[in-house]
Symmetry: C2
DNA sequence: ACACCATATATAACAGGGTTATGCGATACT
DNA sequence: AGTATCGCATAACCCTGTTATATATGGTGT
């Protein structure tokens, strides 16, 4: 079956263009005509490739999950799993701040899907992949004797804390201060680590280590073909 | 019918109608024509009273904050501030689950506003009022020697945890299970309490107490307010 | 009481965005 | 090569937010 592949990356280019327009012009810019024009096509391209705007926006949301996963994947595990968890939190936050509009679209369009469930069933999608990084680091913390209990509930608690912090911060609810990481996020990580079984001293040291050790990664276009877009 | 009339506050009726339509038909139903028809008016009503859909949606979001605040206010403080914090978390979750679409609109339209900042400045708005309940219970926990440190960062951590959990749960990311409160939210509350200074035993007991003691309050229309919102 | 004005509302038209109908040209299979 | 199929452009269609305009209602000043 066939018949394709002529200007085929039009589908990917549409998603790229949508992400770019979203970054530049906010949600208002996510319009079929604008996106199509951005790739030099007519609005029909949206329909032949996606069937409608809804599916295109879903693809944009998926791209957001991909970037989140890529940023989390860039956190290389060390021998301190608690520090790694803090680094994952910083990477999570970085993803949201790097592209707040995309982050908002990503999570507002994922309603009804279950990421945790998917990760448990082994069927990988991007969202569950992101949760998987948290889950694996949590398992390592338990194996190392730093945390007690079961990995899944512990990871879900950590995810809640990080996601809530990031959501509230990027929505501006903590104010425009720039100290929020040191004032809230790092202490939150330390608090959670202690509550999950770590000692206060070890948790604080890992918090410092994670904060000092993490640096934003150069994760660019995670869309399949890595053509540098410009 | 005489044209004018009993215009018993059309402005409030529009918000009521919007909230109702949102509950029934989802975000798609939030349309000027539908809302106006619901109150028996033409779309002009939206413009004379709000100036446009944006302001009406802001009013809907504010109504969401009011309901959140009302549900939190219904949690009567006991002599166990940590149990009260868990009850607040359950009330927060209840608000979101009672009306998920409104909850989503509320927080997606509050971008850029700072609730924490407003609470600090003393100028009350509905969002900061909601945060205030968390903050006061946290202060009581510190005064009681259960938590250590400063109230604001501690309350911000608790808010992050609860908000993240609620957001992820109502978005379906934890799956469709019904055990999430016992499996994740209550343990999260206990974890946070321990991390903030409480002993493991006391935190667990307060977790149980909060879970057992909280019951959904009958908080209905908070729109019709002659309670002087100042 | 009358004239006047401000406001609220209905009607209708306008603008812009998603979607669909249709035709054409290019691709790939026979 | 012939032809069926697919991608895509053009243009129309519909729905939704918005604006322009006219009218009626209620209050206000004299």
């Amino acid at each position: 079956m066939t018949g394709k592949t002529r200007g085929t990356d039009v589908k990917e280019r549409l998603v790229e263009a949508a992400v770019r327009l979203l970054a530049d012009g906010g949600p208002e810019a996510l319009q079929a005509r604008k996106i199509a024009a951005e790739v030099g096509a007519s609005t029909m391209a949206v329909y032949t490739h996606f069937g409608g705007m809804a599916a295109l926006l879903d693809a944009v949301a998926l791209e957001g999950f991909r970037r989140l996963s890529a940023n989390l994947a860039a956190v290389t595990p060390t021998e301190d799993p608690v520090a790694d968890l803090l680094a994952l939190a910083l990477a999570y936050r970085h993803t949201a701040r790097e592209h707040p509009e995309l982050f908002a679209v990503t999570f507002s369009r994922s309603r009804g899907r279950s990421l945790a469930e998917v990760v448990a069933s082994g069927d990988p999608n991007e969202g569950s992949t992101a949760f998987g990084y948290l889950l694996r680091a949590t398992e390592r913390a338990i194996d190392a004797g730093r945390f007690h209990g079961e990995p899944f509930p512990a990871a879900a608690q950590l995810w809640s804390g990080v996601h809530g912090y990031v959501t509230l911060e990027t929505s501006g609810h903590f104010g425009q201060r720039r100290q929020d990481v040191e004032d809230i996020l790092v202490p939150l990580g330390v608090t959670l680590a202690i509550g999950l079984g770590d000692t206060a001293g070890a948790a604080r040291r890992s918090g410092e280590a994670g904060l000092a050790g993490w640096h934003p990664a150069e994760v660019r276009s995670s869309i399949k073909t890595d053509e540098g877009n410009a």
